[in-house]
């Protein structure tokens, strides 16, 4: 099998531009340009209502003058970090089992694991809304079996920070197993065998060989869930209540409900984007596309 990285040696170099022209133009107009607009709105170059405008940092200064939005951001960061850490920890043994236990049906099992992630996001959140309420499935089951008396449900299951983190974890767990699986699968077994020959126990081999070599996969998995959940707003709005309110909700509110404040909303959105971009660039070596090869 030849590697496809070769060049179809040809005369005119028009092919590359003509191939890339359309996709890049599409992204330029519909991805980069909109982001530029967010920046422009945040700097008051454009405004929602007619009125004074012109480049100014006033919006940025006003938004971050009080620590309130930064504190909300930090709250979201903490929630995302917690969720990401937990599900990476949970996903690792799953991926390990699939990759290294020698089971014959590993791809089918992997698919079984990943499939829920590829179905509807909202519907899976809905399922939890149905399950967690004070009169939801869990609580009424507890009443029915007599474990708890009606009137004393397990409150705070729904409309809480816990609910948000539980649901986010549930949503992302399947997806997170994938990069870890890929990096464990490409592990060179002979290294482990060598370690064993040299007298290492399985645990030692794991700690000294497997774990370090699968670190890129772990990092990738972590980032793949951390970055999207930072900006989450759908799950918090459905199951978060007042205490599960996250940074993403704030941005949405500033563009929608109440009194739209596009300037502040754009400032917050751009801030989030910058943080995400920095994270991505710094950790980009762990986000190799190869590690997300399909299937």
């Amino acid at each position: 099998m030849g590697r496809g990285e070769g060049v179809l040696r040809r005369r005119f170099n028009l092919t590359t531009p003509s191939l890339l022209g359309l996709p890049l133009a599409w992204l330029g107009v519909f991805f980069l340009l909109p982001i530029a607009f967010v920046a422009l709105y945040s700097f008051d170059v454009y405004t929602l209502y007619p009125g004074a405008h012109g480049f100014t940092l006033a919006g940025w200064r006003a938004t971050f003058h009080e620590p309130i939005y930064l504190r909300l951001f930090w709250k979201s960061v903490k929630m995302s970090l917690t969720v990401s850490a937990i599900i990476v920890l949970l996903a690792y043994p799953l991926a390990y089992y699939l990759a290294l236990s020698g089971t014959k049906r590993k791809y089918i099992l992997l698919l079984l694991l990943i499939a829920p992630f590829l179905t509807s996001y909202l519907l899976r959140v809905l399922a939890w809304k149905v399950i967690l309420g004070d009169q939801g499935v869990i609580n009424t089951f507890l009443f029915w079996t007599g474990v708890r008396s009606p009137g004393h449900p397990l409150s705070q299951l729904l409309y809480s920070r816990f609910a948000v983190m539980l649901v986010l974890g549930y949503i992302w767990l399947p997806f997170v197993a994938l990069p870890i699986f890929v990096s464990l699968e490409s592990l060179d077994r002979s290294l482990l065998e060598a370690a064993s020959d040299l007298g290492a126990s399985r645990l030692q081999a794991f700690r000294r060989v497997t774990l370090p070599l699968s670190l890129p996969g772990i990092f990738a998995a972590f980032l793949f869930v951390f970055i999207p959940t930072l900006g989450e707003f759908v799950t918090p709005s459905l199951v978060g209540g007042a205490s599960g309110y996250m940074y993403g909700n704030q941005i949405v509110d500033l563009f929608g409900t109440g009194f739209p404040d596009w300037e502040t909303g754009s400032v917050l959105a751009l801030f989030l984007l910058v943080v995400v971009a920095v994270l991505t660039i710094v950790f980009s070596r762990f986000l190799q596309p190869r590690q997300v090869a399909s299937g």
Binding site: G4, P93, Y97, S120, E232, G248
Partner: protein, 268 residues
């Protein structure tokens, strides 16, 4: 003797795996159970078996309209994203150029943008340019989001192909386009179909970006989201949920299995 796992270790991990899979599918099963439950409110104890919610949902024209709109958007999106993806993937795998890392980063960057930021950015773009929101604007947003996925599916497959085949056709005088259409395309067809499917399902299910730029029309996720706040419609929504979830599970598993079978058959 397994160097990675002891027998007991394997057993523990297998049990853990089973537990997690049960946890993952349990809510779906619960929805399934309650979709047949007679009561308006999903709660224990169960109140009896009924098909009513499924019937109601079939007769719900708003819901059907939403499903239709989503299907239209998803179809357009998958066509657009796959076309753009093919162009980009060929460039990435068959051409050499200096800016490749940068270009590939740009092409994949929609993967990391938080949807709330992207949704807002499109809202601002269309508002400032005076473009009305509706199906075209959602189509645009969704193609941007799904383009990286199509590239991620197509690039590995293109790399897998033996380039000797293409070069042979070339040397025999076939133009670049003919080479692509007659040689490459058939070989990557399973991957293209995969890409279609991924783009379709992603677009069909996408709520965040659509909610910003859909205007007054309603896609299925948007309908769902607002229905989640209408308790009287909840049982119907559950019925829909079950149908969609089960169908998509079958489709995904079927497609993946099919793709592997097809690729193996195409293999040299």
């Amino acid at each position: 003797m397994d160097v990675a796992l002891s027998k007991n270790g394997a057993r523990v991990l297998r049990a853990f795996f089973v537990l997690v899979v049960v946890f993952l599918y349990a809510p779906i099963v619960i929805l399934l159970i309650f979709s047949f439950n007679k009561s308006q409110v999903p709660a224990f104890p169960l109140s009896g078996f009924t098909f009513q919610w499924y019937r109601d949902f079939f007769e719900n024209s708003d819901l059907r309209g939403a499903l239709e709109t989503s299907a239209i958007v998803a179809s357009l999106t998958s066509v657009g994203a796959v076309l753009l993806g093919i162009l980009a993937s060929i460039a990435l795998t068959r051409r050499q150029f200096r800016a490749k890392p940068l270009v590939s980063a740009l092409l994949l960057s929609p993967l990391v943008i938080p949807y709330v930021v992207f949704g807002i950015s499109l809202l601002l773009l269309f508002h400032t340019l005076g473009i009305g929101n509706g199906i075209p604007t959602v189509f645009i947003g969704h193609t941007v989001i799904t383009l990286p996925y199509t590239i991620l599916v197509l690039v590995p497959r293109l790399e897998q192909l033996d380039i000797a085949l293409e070069e042979a056709a070339f040397d025999l005088g076939a133009g670049r386009l003919r080479t692509f259409l007659l040689i490459t395309l058939p070989l990557i067809l399973p991957a293209i179909l995969s890409a279609f499917l991924i783009a379709f399902t992603t677009s069909f299910d996408e709520y965040a970006v659509a909610s910003f730029v859909i205007g007054t029309r309603v896609t299925f996720p948007i309908y769902l989201y607002s229905a989640l706040r209408f308790p009287s419609e909840l049982p119907q929504v559950i019925a829909v949920a079950v149908v969609v979830l089960v169908v998509s599970l079958i489709v995904i598993v079927g497609a993946e299995v099919g793709r592997r079978v097809a690729e193996r058959r195409f293999a040299d």
